[in-house]
């Protein structure tokens, strides 16, 4: 079976003080995560205060590389099937995302992926992941 990836309309991103620096970075092609200034631990999803120690946090650029922790092809939630996944970034945090630009039926847990960006309705660039070649 083959389920070829198709672009799915993405509603506007949420723009607020928590997300603006993130989407400014994705517009420039970079994925950022938050790291605690006090305890130095990274976390996901990004927060203003560290969920380990409530210290202040700062943005850090991520490599955008990781592996699939789990994946599911959702076939009956609208006309276009899509692959929802948890991707464990090499920085050690795991984020919810979609896997794109591939045969969705070929995806497997453990597979290496890298970040790509897909435009939302409001032109915000949403980080998603595509399988590495080979």
């Amino acid at each position: 079976m083959t389920t070829t990836y198709q672009d799915r309309p993405l509603g506007s991103a949420v723009h607020d003080d928590a997300t603006e620096p993130f989407f400014a970075a994705t517009a420039a092609g970079s994925l950022r995560i938050k790291v605690c200034i006090s305890c130095r631990k990274p976390h996901w999803y990004p927060r203003a205060l560290c969920p380990y120690c409530l210290g202040d946090t700062e943005w850090r650029e991520a490599t955008g590389k990781g592996g699939i922790y789990s994946v599911s092809v959702t076939r009956r939630a609208g006309p276009i099937p899509y692959a929802i996944a948890y991707v464990r970034l090499d920085e050690g945090v795991t984020m919810l995302s979609n896997i794109v630009d591939c045969d969705l039926d070929s995806l497997r847990i453990g597979q290496r992926v890298h970040v790509v960006f897909k435009p939302a309705e409001d032109k915000a660039m949403i980080p998603m992941f595509a399988p590495d070649q080979g």
Partner: protein
Amino acid sequence: MSIRRKACIAGAYEHPTRKAPDKTVAQLHAECARGALEDAGLRLQDVDGYFCAGDAPGLGANSMADYLGLRPRHVDSTDTGGSAYLVHVSHAAQAIAMGKCNVALITLAGRPRSEGSSGVAPRLVGAGTPDVPWEAPYAPVTVNMYALAANRHMHEYGTTSEQLAWIKVAAATHAQHNPNAMLREPVTVDDVLASPMISDPLHRLDCCVVSDGGGALVVVRPEIARSLKRPVVNVLGAGEAIKGQLNGQVDLTFSGAAWSGPRAFEEAGIKPSDIQYASIYDSFTITVLMQIEDLGFCEKGKGGRFVADGNLISGVGKLPFNTDGGGLCNNHPANRGGITKVIEAVRQLRGEAHQKVQVRDCSLALAQGTGGLLGSRHGSATLIMERA
């Protein structure tokens, strides 16, 4: 301080409707309240504690307490999704033990079926929910947030779709004896596997029903329970927990039941093998499998083998579960199955389940709830009860 034997479940009522477009949600709450109070043999005026969750229309308990004509001196509108009503039983027992109330009423009702709710639609959440900006673009819906846990379980432990299907087979076997159940036809493992794939690896028959309806419970001081005509069901122990994404250290191999379960067993002073009947939250088949492991009914990772071959079927297997047909076949009112889990456990302890599924001499039962999303954030509640 423990709640062990400090409170009793004196009234339990499940609304028979499964589709109620002609009734308001408030009316359904009231009909459930009336049913549970009649079951207990108590009057509205006896109620001095009121509990409800996010399905109740209006502002917390304010709107419904007023609608019902209550004058509670103790209120609690803790909302942990579908597990909230098990938390309410625990909190009611705590309040009774502390002398804050004597007769606690818990109600749930909703009309998701009439209102067109679905497990493949985005979940409605309040403005400002902090995770939404980071997740909504990826189209998490109810079913795929359980499917992610199922796929990881299969990857780690070799769990199969056939094993998950056995959970539905057991529920359907029980549901054929429940005249109110939404789905009363027995099904086979092959039927489950042949049903449409919704989100890999969960098929349509791995998913619970969407139904209108509701239920209510009355929790009372033990002296009051003994003065009533109904069999006495003691609250023996309870545990609650919230499990999320662990700051980004996502681990889908266990549910919040791994935390709430041991707390409940410790308070009850019993072990999983003592349990004769278990109501296990069954939003999806994978929900059941993971909670069974996390509660200690079998070793982590061996849930697939444990649920296979009819081991959850009353009269056949070692752990009779969801003898009303559960959320998979009977009823999932308000998309929240917690209260029906307690109600069927009470029926079993009273010896009032359908005779075809009644567990003989059932004196220890467990109810387990998981509310929210197994694959991201959920509330877990475990409740252990005994027949006095």
